[in-house]
Every structure is written in structure tokens, then in C-alpha cells.
Symmetry: D2
Subunit: 340 residues, 4 copies
């Protein structure tokens, strides 16, 4: 099963984190177990987020009507999880759609990402870094047989985000040239794999030579140092870096080109350069997560095109702190997946 | 005739300005006159642009093959003309498409505004503030009988810009709510008139209470002080102000909404607020001028909907300095038109 | 209140018809009345549909949770209602979204018209031709003060259909030329009013000279005899006639033009003329009803643009047979509205 | 070089045919040769088109200004060429854009396929089945090194047509399900290859079991007998067959789905089934050839995705009659290419 999930328990400083993609099998309805192993945010610490991580036993979820409990097999780590430890975005009332991976399927839901009433479910429910998890049944879709539990656990957050950026937010005919700013993160590697699998020419930037080399290995046509002059103007830029690359992204576009942005890890307030935007008739388009329909198409796309998510490392859930440490240090190329 | 025109003579400090909309009748081919009255930029002066204006005799244009000389009847003033006096944008090699108004018609041209080879013709040719003007014949379209020469002279720059912003750059069904930032300028009044004539609810902001009142008089549903909290989020914002209103524009949009921008008179470098853009999935879309097809539809639209451009004042071309002065002081509601 | 409603009682030959638009006020929850006046389909008769109409007392609706009972003030007649009397489309399991007009408001529903699970609610629920009616509460929207109950009763079926055809199914900039096939029906008059109010040039065809004249009176730019050669090719054709006009519609389009079709009253099986479709790169786009969001924008559009539905005749509900007769004979220009 | 070319000489019954894709090297400007080998249509014969073919010497082309003569290396056969022998479409004044393959490059041209003034150049110029050919220089693009002359000769007609159908006329996110009607023709095999290379799930129909098997071999997910019931409704249908499959195509679509059509080899006049079109909100979209920009993206797409056109057989130009015979008999899977 793959689907949407959410994180953290309400009314408790002990927040069971792991906001997103995981893999599991659907548990029997009458789950008797009272305690399970889980990784939680014991508190918030903006300076030393790792110190807020706690491993131990937590109550099993008891799903309301219309929810399903699944036995988690794999769950992937996202930047959001580090932000949770830091206490960022936790008080806001926003939905962050996440994903679970398991067995049986479920039915239709429209795009909720524009719903003004959406709320961050991680404020109210248990997260994915646990032995068992309850999610709304409609949020579950079948795991494709061709993907391992670890691979499938990567799809619903990073890969769905990349899918919508590339295919839902801009209309590019195959053979277009797309610049991906940043080469190592989960979304950036997803952009390279998915963009290339759809027939585009992918150019990548990174400050790190090793990451540039790996980007070419997984399908990028060329990789450049951050801010480098490109051989020609591109049709579109995929942005998740923000301030550090924004000026370069605007200058990289051909007249009429588009930047799609789904994150700003280096900062959110670069100068907007409005004159360039209007004079060259550029577009800047924001994107967040994706719809259930898009997740279904992403799965079929991976099956048809042979796409397999790039996993930097897989580790048992009880070694979660080491995974968080790698993400905080930026020393990753692809996803971190925890298994159970 | 209405069409595209351009400004300034090459290789000369005496630049005949008036980059845009004008009205005229097609002259006989064998125009014998050697000198004509014209308004020119004798030099560039960023501090005192008015001092650079010169009125006097200039050589008649001698059109190359495929060009037509028209006798100018009316020409409207645009911010670009002030910038020319200030020396801004004159060295750059960009096309600014402008417009002429006269009698007989001409044939099809695609959207040139995305052509990377476009050049600012005002670098090479005479401008519109003169008794006679040569323009490429294909750039001429018939003046609708229902519009006066003065009214028609407003269409090809300010109204065409507004038309593309509202109808070519965002897909809004009639009955949508659109915020227009700034109420007095030529493009802003065009946005109010055209948006309302297409059935949208138009909200306007201005620092000036008198302009807010006039905005409601010409069709705005409501007018607000600059930066004021709006009754609800809007579907789209039309921006020509830039820095002074950018933050308000971003906050005014509903999730998934769009800002269309065609100018930034108050500055081009506000903070981009990328987090808001991606989290609410906003779009920022640049726009410049319009295509010949769009000009033809604009004319039919004005005829069908009874739109008549708002003209602040009409004056003989030999009083051009007073018109420039009014524009520089910002003391305008609608267009300034010079007649001959 | 305006909203969606539906027609006919299940398990009964006595079908209370009136599938669509009506006007009313919200009744007190504890409606005690046991019987009310209603117009029903006593049976189906394809040859003599009028004979199947029955006027008399019917049980009051008892709304389930989430439904609201409203007191009907006005309800408009649609071709669907005649088809119901003929027994057409009654056994199929399709949703036909209709509309009610009353007082208090309600909240958001997405576009259901593509839902494969949609069902014709008239199979299960009471129709609108009755003193009282129960509808899902979320299907109710406030009636604009500027419209009378009779006018508002026309909007949710004929005018919403026309709105989606013109603005949701094709992207036409104002000033485009649109051909409306047929001039008298409820949807055709709505297409003329709404298309003109959005700034388009509307051309109309009809076999009936009087209807052609009235079409021009309500805003059509020109009216032509059915099948007549047009002055020039059009950007789009709005079709509800079908077989009798299809060949003309295809020939009327400019290269790249679009036919939007929402009905085929004269027959559904004209030759498709595929060579013309592909050689001139035409589009044929089907349309059915509209979404709740579109209904909200339609109401705002009518308010901003001063659109008032064209009503051919208003009559008390107990004279419904005469209204049906006029529709069957085709002797209408605009809508028939029943009042209570 | 690859580019656009055209067929047939004016004022002569001897029409040098081969309307489309070919491959060559740019000849020296001062081409002295007076005669060259060519395949021409000596006359038109609708019953026995093969009898109209003539092989022999023809005058060398003498290109006007702005045209380039290239030495043909390979040229592919299209159904149009058979139609030329039959005298179909020859008198009409339509542009059929074709393609040449050679060496040096050329510059920008917009989409001409909607130009009402377009004309069938094969009425006026020499076709591609000859040793040398003159084409407008701007219609030439560089041949990608990765493709052979024979492969490249397939791209500008069949593959460009398929490219525009799949990517220019409908917006499908990767992982969509697309039905291709007919499995063996040049455009159908192109649709399978290109659709699959962009990550879609391709379903194919054919009456011929061997062709169904080959379709799966080159990338189709499943192949079905013509008219067979499909496992589920599809997002889009690609049509080139017409009458024989039209009803099946309409029934195969999910609500809101799209048929893209670029040909109708089995006939053009099936019943249109307008009720299905409007009730399920289907779209039917015509498509013809493609733009120069699309050809450039197609070449990059083939390079990035490793697409290599499927060639049924390659033969020397002097054996052209055998190639025509295979096309007329329908006994092909992929393209016929003539070499020189």
C-alpha cells in the first residue's frame, strides 16, 4: 500500500515524527497490540534538532471509521521531519500530504492541495516512523509489484512533488531543456530521474563536484557548478534551493520560460527582479505536493519507464538518528529510508 | 489606421520621441515635404528629463519598401517616453512595439514579443510625435469608425498591454475578482475598463482618494487605500506598480491565484517571498505589449462592449512639454493625447 | 437560494417532474404539512407527452441529514422535463445537475460532472415543480438581490450550461467571433446574452425570421438564416442543435477553431467529416452543465454586467401544461418559468 | 540535414513525387549537373496508381534565393505519395509540410500549419524522390549524429505528426493510458515509440495478430483485436484509421477524455455520436504535421530517449515501385525508406 499519511500526536510533547512516505501491509482490524516501537519528537530544539529525537514505545494507533491501520515496512525521511524537530511549521494549521506504502487499494479523491481548510494533520495524528500507522483508507493506493517496499516509500513525498512540478505545473513537450537547481536532495534526484524518463534534456547545478558526477550518472545530460553560465537558455527551471540560486534561475530562462518552485532551503527572500520577469514574459509557478490522481499516474509512469528511486542509504528505524544526522549535514545523494 | 510604431533616429542625439500610440491618415507615396514639426529628445537627462525635450523641424521620414508613411492625427504619451528623455532603456537592443492610428488596413503578423532577435526600433527610426511617420505596412490596422482619432491613439500601447494582461496571460472566467494595483495610470485605467467590460469584478487600490473615487466611477466595484486589507482573497492581481505593492499583491491572492505584471514603476526588487509562492501555489506571470491578432480583437471588443479609453487631457503637439510635466508629476487619471 | 436539484420519486409511476432551476425560501425544519401541490409525470408517453402530465397533491418531502427543504417560489422548464414525460433517459443512471433558488447559503463542492459514479437523481427524489422541495444543503447558493425569483430560477440550468460552454470549454479572448446555432431556446438565448456581456461578437442562425430579429435585439451582432454563408470564418461555434446544423458548424470555423456542444435536439448522428477536422485542426468539445464554482461566478458576472435572463412567459404552476405545450411546439424565445 | 520539402513539378504531368522525409547532404552552390535520376508521377491513375510511376532522368533543381540544394541520401515513403499517384489532393491548394535530411542548419520559423494562405507546395516544386532537391533554407535543421540517414528520413513526416498528436494537442501527464488505433503504419508505430518513450502506457489495436505482437515488442503495453473491449477506459485515443474504428474510439474514452485525429484512411464520414461527446464531455481534436520548433524538440527527444524509428524495409530508389506496392497492400510494419 502507498497513500497519504501524517505525523505527530495531539496534546502531547511526544510527537511521533516521520511526516511522509512509508511502506507497510494492512493490519488486521482487531489489532490487539498496545505498544509499539516508534521514533518521536520529545520536544522542539531549533539549535540542536537531533537532541529532540526520542526512540521508544508508543501506544498503537486506534483508527476511526474510514481509516485503516497498516504495518509499516519502510518509511522515508524528508526535510520536513528535521523542521518538525526544530519546531518549525508545527503550530501552523496546514496540510502536508504524505504517503504510506502497503497492500490493498482504495478510491477517488480530488486535489486537496488548494483547499483553504486544509490542516497540518501532523498536529493531530501519529507519524510514519512507527511499527504501525493509521491513515484514511481513501489515501491508500496499491504498491506496484515492480518496486520494493523501500523504493515505494520514496514516491509519495519527494517523487510526487517532482512529478507535479515537471508535468502538472508547466506544459513542456518532450525534448525540452530543464535546469534543476541543486543535485543531491530527494526532490532534485527525483526531478532528474522523472524528467529524463519523460524525454527531456536535464541540466543540473551543484556546488559539489561528486554530486554533479552522480547526477550525470543517473541521467542528467550535463552538470554545472552553481551559478555557472549555461550553453544556452532553458525552457524551464525547477527550483527548491531559493535565495542562493534565484538570480541564476531567472537569468537561465529563455523568453517566455517558466520557473517552478516547491521549496527554498537556502532562504525565501531574494530580490524578485520584476523587470526581468515582465520584460522577458517569464512565469514563476508555485507547487506543493500532488493529488491522488497524480500519485496513481506516477506509479504507472515508474512501471512503464522503469524508474527506480535513488536511495542514498537504508537503515533500520532504530538507527533513525544517524539518518537525521546525514540529512542535517547535507551529505546525501537521494533518499534515506528506514525499515522495520 | 492603427498599428505599431517606434521612436528615435539612429546615430543622432536628436531623438524624435513618442514611442507609441498615434493616429493618422495614410499619406500619398510621393511625399515631397522635406521638413515637418516634431518633438524630439535633444539629449538625455536623468535628473531633469523635461529639459531634454526639443520642439522644432525635423526631416520627413522616407519609408523603405514595405513601410507606409502616415499623416499623424493624434499620438498618446507613455511612461516610456519619459524614460527615453532620462536615457533609460535606450542603449538596450529591445523591441518596444507601439502603435499608429490611421485609415487603410494591412495583413497578418504573429506575436513578435517573444522573438529573441527583437530590437528596440526607437534606436533606429523616427517616433510618433511628429507630423508624419513611417511604419511597417503590416503593422497598420484600420481605425474603428466608432472611435475618435484621440481615443484610438490610446489603444495600441496602454490598452493592448492591459488586454494581454487580463485575457492572454491568465484564464479567468467572467465574474472573477481582479485586483488592480494603482488607479490613475494609462494601463491601470485600461485594466479597469476592459476587465469590467468583460464581466469581472474589479477592485482597485490607490493612495489618492480622488483617484479611488474616479476608479469607481469608470467601473471598479470597490476602491481601497494602498495596502488595505481586502474583504476576501482575489483570483488575480494586475501589477504595474512593483515594489510599493508587491507584498500586498502576494497576500491578496487566493490559493492558486495569479499575479500578472507588466511594469514596476516604484521599483523592481521587492523580496520575492518564495515560501508564500510555493506554499499557496501562486503564479507570477510577466507580460509585455501584445500581438497584432490581440490588437484586432481589442478593437472588436471595444466596438462590441462600447469601451472608450479614458483621456485625462488632449493638447496640441506643440504643447507637449505640459503633457510630459503632468505625467512626471503623476497628476493624471487616464491618457495624455497630443493632436495635430 | 439557488442550488442543484433533481426530479422524480423512486418506485412510483407518479414522478414529480421539473428537473431543474427553481426559486424558493428555506422552510422551517419541522415542516408539518403532509400534502402539497405538485406537477408529476403520471406515466411515460413518447407520442403524447402532455397526456402524461398530472397536477395534484403529493406528499411533502422529508429531507435526510445534510439536506434542506425549501419553499419553491419559481421553477423554470427545460427540455429534459419533456423528455421525462416521454420516458427518455429515465432508466439510465446518470446525474443531471439542476438548480434551486432560495435564501440562505452553503459551502463548497467541486465539479461533479465528470464523476463516473454520478447518477440521475431524478430517479430517486422529488422534482422542482412542487410547493416544497428537499435538496442537498451544499447545493444551495444565495440568490443575488438584483435578480427576481423568476430570473434567478433560469440560471442554474440553461445559463450555467451556456456559461461553461463559452468560458470553461474554450479559451476565447474578448472580441472573438462566436456563432450560436439556433436562436430561441433557453440555452441559445443565454449564449447570446452571456457571450455579448463578455465582449464577444455574437452571430446567430435561425430558420425563423422573428427569432433572428429578437436575437439582434438582445445583443447578437448579426443573425442569419440557418445554413447561410457567413461573412467570414468564426473562432468558435456553440452547438445545441446537432444534425441539422453540424455540417454548417464545421464549415463556419476558421483553421484551429472550436465547436462546443451541449445538446443535439435535431439528432445526434450527422457525418463526422473527420478529414475537415484534422486538416483544419478543428476541435469538437463536449460540455454538460457546470460546477458549483462556475455557478458562483455566473451570479457575480450577472451582477457586474447587468445580465437578466430572457423569459418568454411566466405562469402559475397550475398552468404548467400550457408551458409544456409551448416548449413542445418550439414556440418560445427564452425561458418558461412557473411561479407559486 | 533535416527539413521541410515538397513534391511535384508545376505545369507538367511529370510530377516528381516523394512528398516528404528525406536525408541528404548540402550540395555545392554551383551544381553543374543537368540531369539526375528521379521517381515521378507520369500521370494520375486512381485505379492502378502503380502504373503511373515513372523512373528516369529529370532536370536538376535550380533553387531560388533563400533555398538550398541538397544531395539526397534517403527519403521515406508516405501514404500521401500513393494519393498523389491516384490524383487525390493534387489540385487543392494546401500546404503539406515535409522534410529533408542533410547537414548544415538554419533558423526560426513559426507554426505555419494554421496559415490560411498555405499552399500545397508539391504543386509547384520537385519532390524528394530524386538525387537532388531544393528546399527553403530555413526549413533545414541539422541531422542528429546518433541517427542514420535512413532513420532521420523518417522523422519529419510520420514522427513529427505523431509528436504533435501526443504532446502538442493534448496535455497528458506521464503514466496516462493512450489507445493507438491501428498498429502497422508509419504514424502508428511512431505513436507507440514516442508515447512509450515519454512514459505513457500504450494500448494498440490491429486486425492482424502479427502486427499486434510486433507492437508489444516495440513498446506497447498491450495489443487488442480491432474493436475489442478494453480492460478500462483510456485517457486519450490517437486516431488515423477513421470510419472503421471511430465508434470504438468514442466508447474507449473516460469522461473528459480526448481523441486526437490526423488521418482517416478507412473513411471520413462515421456517425458523429454527438450525444456521447457532450454527455461525457469528450474532446475531438484535429492535428496536421507540426512546427519547426516541434521538429527540433522531437530530434532532442529521440537523442535523449534513444528512440530509433521503426523501418520495415530499406531499398534503393530505383526499386521504388516495390516499396509503393508494399504500402498499397498494407503489408508494412513501420516505414519504407529509399536510399541513394
Amino acid at each position: 500500500m502507498i497513500g497519504w499519511s501524517h505525523a505527530s500526536a495531539p496534546g502531547s510533547l511526544l510527537r511521533q515524527i516521520g511526516r511522509s512516505a512509508l511502506t507497510g501491509t494492512v493490519a488486521g482490524r482487531a489489532a490487539r497490540v498496545l505498544l509499539m516501537f516508534a521514533v518521536t519528537a520529545a520536544r522542539f530544539d531549533s539549535a540542536d534538532p537531533l537532541s529532540a529525537l526520542e526512540l521508544g514505545e508508543r501506544p498503537e494507533p486506534s483508527p476511526p471509521d474510514g481509516w485503516t491501520t497498516i504495518t509499516v515496512r519502510a518509511a522515508s525521511l524528508n526535510h520536513h521531519d528535521v523542521w518538525t524537530l526544530r519546531g518549525v511549521g508545527i503550530s501552523a494549521d496546514r496540510l502536508v500530504v504524505h504517503a504510506v506504502v502497503g497492500d490493498p487499494g482504495s478510491a477517488g479523491v480530488a486535489d486537496e492541495t488548494l483547499d483553504p481548510a486544509r490542516s497540518l494533520l501532523s498536529e493531530r495524528y501519529q507519524g510514519t516512523f512507527a511499527q504501525r500507522l493509521a491513515v484514511p483508507s481513501r489515501n491508500l493506493v496499491p504498491k506496484p509489484a515492480a518496486l520494493s517496499f523501500e523504493q515505494a516509500a520514496c514516491l509519495p513525498t519527494a517523487y510526487l512533488t517532482a512529478y507535479r512540478m515537471l508535468f502538472g505545473k508547466v506544459a513542456l513537450e518532450p525534448g525540452s531543456t530543464i535546469l534543476v537547481q541543486g543535485a543531491g536532495g530527494g526532490v532534485a534526484t527525483a526531478l532528474i530521474l522523472l524528467g529524463r524518463a519523460a524525454g527531456h534534456r536535464i541540466w543540473v547545478t551543484s556546488r559539489d563536484e561528486a554530486k554533479r558526477e552522480r547526477a550525470v550518472t543517473i541521467g542528467a545530460d550535463q552538470a554545472f557548478a552553481t551559478g555557472a553560465r549555461l550553453p544556452e537558455r532553458v525552457d524551464a527551471v525547477m527550483e527548491t534551493v531559493g535565495e542562493a540560486t534565484w538570480s541564476h534561475s531567472l537569468k537561465a530562462l529563455r523568453p517566455g520560460g517558466t520557473i517552478v518552485i516547491s521549496g527554498a532551503t537556502s532562504g525565501s527572500m531574494p530580490p524578485a527582479d520584476l523587470s526581468r520577469v515582465f520584460f522577458l514574459q517569464l512565469s514563476v509557478v508555485g507547487s506543493t505536493m500532488g493529488s491522488r490522481d497524480q500519485l496513481a499516474r506516477l506509479l504507472r509512469f515508474c512501471a512503464q519507464a522503469g524508474v527506480r528511486p535513488v536511495i542514498d542509504r537504508t537503515m533500520p528505524l532504530d538507527q533513525a538518528p544517524a539518518g537525521f544526522e546525514a540529512m542535517i549535514s547535507g551529505d546525501l545523494f537521494g533518499k534515506v529510508v528506514f525499515t522495520l
